[in-house]
Structure formats: structure tokens, C-alpha cells
């Protein structure tokens, strides 16, 4: 055979409608993982305002750390981002537990059902946390 034809990534994301549970679980686990590690860096950056706080200011809650954090919490958008973060974290935890079981060779024949279960549980936990997260901001 002189040549052969390379169709490239014929089965890649263009075929997302055909993806099955295990594939979606992988995609979402990656995505939520990227968000969480990105947040970790941001989180430490924000908390860095605690370095060199003036003890006198801290006593009356007018130090940079307290003011930065409370200022951010006062923004509605931050509250919504926190809800997003909670959703992402909860899904990553639940699907992570699913993956640990898969690594142990347990429940491999219910891997799709356990993925759907982690999605539903994530939704339930997020919804029930809404009042706590939005409290005082609305």
C-alpha cells in the first residue's frame, strides 16, 4: 500500500454526543480539577493579606486581611462564584470517591450508575447549601 489516510481525531470532542458515562466522568473530573488547583493558587494569594497584619488594626477589624475578605464577601458575584466552587469541589470529591473504588476494583459494573449518583448528589448538596452561601448578601 502506497499511502494511507489519516482521519485525524475523528472520535474526539466533535463526537461528544456519543460519549458515554465513563468519558463524561473523566472530562468533568479533569475540568473540576483544573478549577480547584487554579483556585488554590488564588486562595493563597488572597490569604497573603494576613502577612504583616497590624495587631492594633486587627483588634478593631480594620486590618487589611479582615477588610479584604469581608470586602470580597460583600460582593454578590463572589457569593455566586463560591457556590460554583462548592459545586466543583463536591463533584470532585464524590467522583473521586467513585474513582478510588474503581482503583480498588470495586463496583466496576456500576461505574455509570455511580457517576450519575455523584451528579445528583452534587446537585442536591449545592441546592441545599444555597441559603448558607447567599445569607446576608441578598
Amino acid at each position: 500500500m502506497a499511502q494511507s489516510y489519516d482521519r485525524g481525531a475523528v472520535e474526539s470532542f466533535g463526537r461528544w454526543r456519543e460519549f458515554q458515562a465513563g468519558m463524561w466522568a473523566w472530562i468533568l473530573h479533569k475540568l473540576t480539577g483544573w478549577i480547584l488547583v487554579g483556585y488554590l493558587f488564588t486562595h493563597i494569594a488572597v490569604l497573603s493579606t494576613a502577612v504583616g497584619v497590624d495587631p492594633g488594626a486587627a483588634a478593631t477589624e480594620v486590618d487589611t486581611y479582615t477588610q479584604t475578605l469581608q470586602g470580597l464577601e460583600g460582593l454578590l458575584i463572589v457569593r455566586f462564584l463560591e457556590i460554583g466552587l462548592l459545586t466543583v469541589a463536591v463533584f470532585h470529591i464524590l467522583n473521586g470517591i467513585r474513582l478510588l473504588f474503581v482503583d480498588l476494583g470495586l463496583g466496576l459494573d456500576v461505574q455509570d450508575a455511580s457517576f450519575y449518583a455523584s451528579l445528583i448528589l452534587t446537585a442536591l448538596i449545592t441546592l441545599s447549601s444555597l441559603p448558607t452561601f447567599l445569607g446576608g448578601a441578598l
Partner: protein, 283 residues
């Protein structure tokens, strides 16, 4: 070999008309025959088949041909392809041999999933049926892909039985306990069709990844107690290399498509654990 190839080329170059409609170039007699088949069939089914031939002018550009085939109960995708080849276009190329899911020749991409043509019932599929060669492998012609890389990966895990000692007496059996046989039973079913490798998202991105079929082969021998412990360690060393088991992301794609229902993901995971156990045991 080369002269044979040239001959084929000459024969296939004969139909030079437009390829818009396959039926148009058929002889009157053949067309009547097909019409009769279609009229007497309980139902007809449309196939959309991937076509490509780098050696023929006018077929170098990949495209889809439509074939309408008569349907009868129990018909498989392979039966439909054979009908299309025999009645419409004798140049339609696909691999097949045993027609009973043993030889592993006819793994195809049917309606967006890797399936064995001879094991897939037409009645179970949505219409029209879209038939393509296996993804992530180079297409040689029509539905035929280059399987060399897949075979190389299979060879890489040294897929042959290699016990330390042979039983006394040349014709003596090499006995295995029923429990151990049970453990490797499903892994021995592999027919080297390549469906799993084609479905694997990681194998698609990393050409060096051993892939599900090869790892399953490694499992089949590594778990066989008749082989010695040193041989097992060597086998584990092959699969625990960088492009071995660790690449598996447990997407379960291979397990979903395996026509022999081998729990591929489970076997890959078992080898990961076996390897970790083996490496943690430093005493």
C-alpha cells in the same frame, strides 16, 4: 506483489463515470435484480459507507456512498456490507473471515461506536446506518485500517505462555487450578480485533501507550500461576513502564465496546494494584 497490485488497479479504473449515485453505473440486469430483492424484502435499510482509495483517481478524496439493502430478520452489519459489495460495487473493501465473532477481522465504527460487523444486528441500530473504518488508525482503503501498530503493541507484552518448568513426559498436560483458570478466563477471550484500542482516548493521544488489548494480554499471563514469579515480575515491568498501565484513565470506553465482553478496565486496574504491591514489597 507489485504486479498483482497493478492488475487490480487497472480493473478498478474501468468505471470512470461520476460516483454520485452508485446505482447509476450498474447494468440493467443487475439493477432489476436489486429491485427485485428490495421489493420482496420485508424492509429496506440504507447504509452510508465510508469510501477511500488512494490508488484510484477520483476515489482519493474520502466520501460516503449510500447503499440500499434488503433487510431480513437476523441480518448483521457484515451481511449488509457483503450484499452491498456483491450487488452494487465489487470494489467495496472490508476485512471479514469467520462471520461468527472469532477471527476478529471486522471491527468497524458503526453509528459512532466500535462494533464487530458480524455480531451487530441491523435491527438494533438507528437508520441510516453509518459505517466507517476504526478511528485512530490510518485507513488503507475503504473500511480497512492499518493494524500494524496494534499488533506491535500486542507483541510488546510478549503474549505467549512461558512457564518455568514443563511437566514430565512430553505429552503431559500443563495443569492449572480451576480458581486460577477462572481468574484469567475472560482475558483469554481476546480476538485481537482492535475495537478497544480504537475507542481509547488515551491511546489516541499517546501512540506509545500499550492500550487495553495488550495490557489485557499481559494480565492473562501475569496472573497465570503456572508461570514462575520471576517471569511475573518481568511481565509487570513491561506494563508498569511510563506508557503502560498508568496511562489508563478509567474512562471505560474499551470495556463498553469490547465485542467479547472482556472487563478490560478491571484487568488494567488489577495490574496497577499488582504493580504497586510488588513495588511496596521491599523486604
Amino acid at each position: 506483489m507489485s504486479t498483482q497490485l497493478e492488475q487490480e488497479t487497472e480493473i478498478e479504473e474501468e468505471p470512470t463515470e461520476s460516483r454520485e449515485s452508485v446505482a447509476e453505473r450498474l447494468s440493467e440486469k443487475r439493477r432489476e435484480q436489486i429491485q427485485e430483492d428490495l421489493d420482496t424484502a420485508e424492509k429496506t435499510i440504507q447504509l452510508k459507507v465510508f469510501r477511500y482509495d488512494p490508488e484510484i483517481e477520483g476515489k482519493m478524496e474520502p466520501r460516503f456512498d449510500s447503499f440500499t439493502v434488503p433487510f431480513h430478520k437476523g441480518m448483521t452489519v457484515l451481511d449488509a456490507l457483503i450484499y452491498a459489495r456483491d450487488r452494487y460495487d465489487s470494489s467495496l473493501t472490508f476485512r471479514h473471515s469467520c462471520r461468527q465473532a472469532v477471527c476478529g477481522s471486522d471491527a468497524l465504527f458503526v453509528n459512532g461506536q466500535q462494533r464487530l460487523g458480524c455480531k451487530t444486528q441491523l435491527g438494533d441500530l438507528e437508520h441510516p446506518i453509518r459505517i466507517e473504518p476504526l478511528p485512530h488508525q490510518d485507513v488503507v482503503k475503504d473500511l480497512v485500517v492499518d493494524m500494524q501498530h496494534f499488533y506491535d503493541q500486542m507483541e510488546a507484552v510478549e503474549p505467549y505462555f512461558d512457564p518455568d518448568e514443563l511437566p514430565e513426559g512430553e505429552l503431559e498436560e500443563q495443569r492449572q487450578t480451576p480458581e486460577n483458570r477462572e481468574k484469567v478466563k475472560l482475558s483469554t477471550r481476546c480476538i485481537w480485533c482492535g475495537a478497544c484500542m480504537s475507542s481509547c482516548n488515551i491511546a489516541a493521544g499517546d501512540n506509545e501507550y500499550l492500550g487495553p488489548a495488550a495490557i489485557n494480554k499481559a494480565y492473562r499471563f501475569a496472573m497465570d500461576e503456572r508461570e514462575g514469579t520471576d517471569r511475573k515480575k518481568e511481565r509487570l515491568r513491561i506494563v508498569e513502564q511510563e506508557h503502560g498501565v498508568w496511562r489508563c484513565q478509567t474512562q471505560f470506553s474499551c470495556t463498553e465496546v469490547c465485542p467479547k465482553d472482556i472487563p478490560l478496565t478491571e484487568h488494567i486496574q488489577a495490574l496497577k494494584r499488582e504493580s504497586i504491591k510488588n513495588n511496596l514489597k521491599f523486604w
